[in-house]
Symmetry: C2
Subunit: 159 residues, 2 copies
DNA sequence: GGCAATTTAATTGTATACAATACTCTGGAA
DNA sequence: TTCCAGAGTATTGTATACAATTAAATTGCC
């Protein structure tokens, strides 16, 4: 076996991102506590506030989540009064997610709360943009490699 | 109500990071398929390869996970033959996580596999370092704000 | 028009996460 | 020595994620 470099946790970009993601999750969960929304519920609401009504599939495209995650999440949002789930009449396969009056009424309150909490992070728009640009590159690479199921093949070629 | 800026999903750094984290998870899950390790199991093994044996608490400090997550994860690693969980004799509260012979034997294979897969991402060390540096800043801000439970107070001050 | 392939959601099963609680053990104070 | 506060782990309950399967509806194709 040839000499192999150790893989150290603290040098792994994946762990930095994984850790940051959990911290963001916690941050928004706290920020949104007055509204009782979890982070995934919140991003679902963001999309719906932009574009309701949407089918489960359309919402999933935006959030990169499938029905296995969204169906129970949306049922919880429905139970809490944020959305309604209605079978489409023109295509009975689809379920349309509509905003309730409460959701529409609370939209600006949430926007405002989020805006305020984000100022606490003390990042400039420029810093945020720069970071998101880099993340897009990383994500494209990950998509190129893994979404096309090339990992096994390519790595086996390397071996 | 004063005019409020909309919050658009595609402009949210949190979502970029959340999405990247999921893609990394999937990437490593595929890369590690030959070993049957999930991403969280893999990072646990990374720490143990650096420093076994460790208590559940010490491992949790490194991974930023608590016993509620680690206990079942470690039981699964034990069932699959990667680790053993042994009550400490000097302090019966502690459980020491040891590597099995198989885990020690497979370490370099995993290191190599990961090294190969990472080359597929086509990122230079410089790019990775730069990104991790920025992420450290973000995470520090998130820790400052949310770990100290100041969100509610500060935002209410703003209101 | 009839039927196979496809699309869309929901369901099932497994694996994280994490708050809150329970339980056991340890070390120190009275 | 006894008791108790705190530490360390496990458990419980809720909420994601996602692969794989199921079920129902629709579309294409003949």
């Amino acid at each position: 076996m040839p000499k192999v470099s150790p893989v150290l946790l603290d040098e792994q970009l994946c762990f930095s991102i994984y850790s940051a993601s959990k911290k963001f999750n916690h941050f928004y969960q706290s920020a949104l506590a007055p509204f009782g929304l979890t982070y995934p519920q919140y991003i679902a609401m963001l999309v719906l506030w932009e574009d309701a009504p949407l089918t489960v599939h359309q919402l999933g495209d935006r959030l990169e989540l499938d029905s296995g995650t969204l169906t129970p999440l949306l049922k919880r949002l429905e139970k809490q009064g944020w959305v309604t789930r209605v079978r489409s009449r023109t295509d009975e396969r689809q379920v349309l997610i509509h905003l309730t009056e409460m959701a529409t009424a609370k939209r600006d309150e949430v926007y405002q709360r989020i805006g305020q909490c984000q100022t606490l992070l003390g990042m400039t728009n420029k810093e945020i943009d720069s970071m998101m640009t880099e993340l897009v590159t990383v994500k494209e690479q990950l998509d190129n490699v893994s979404a096309q199921r090339l990992i096994t093949k390519k790595v086996d070629d390397l071996a």
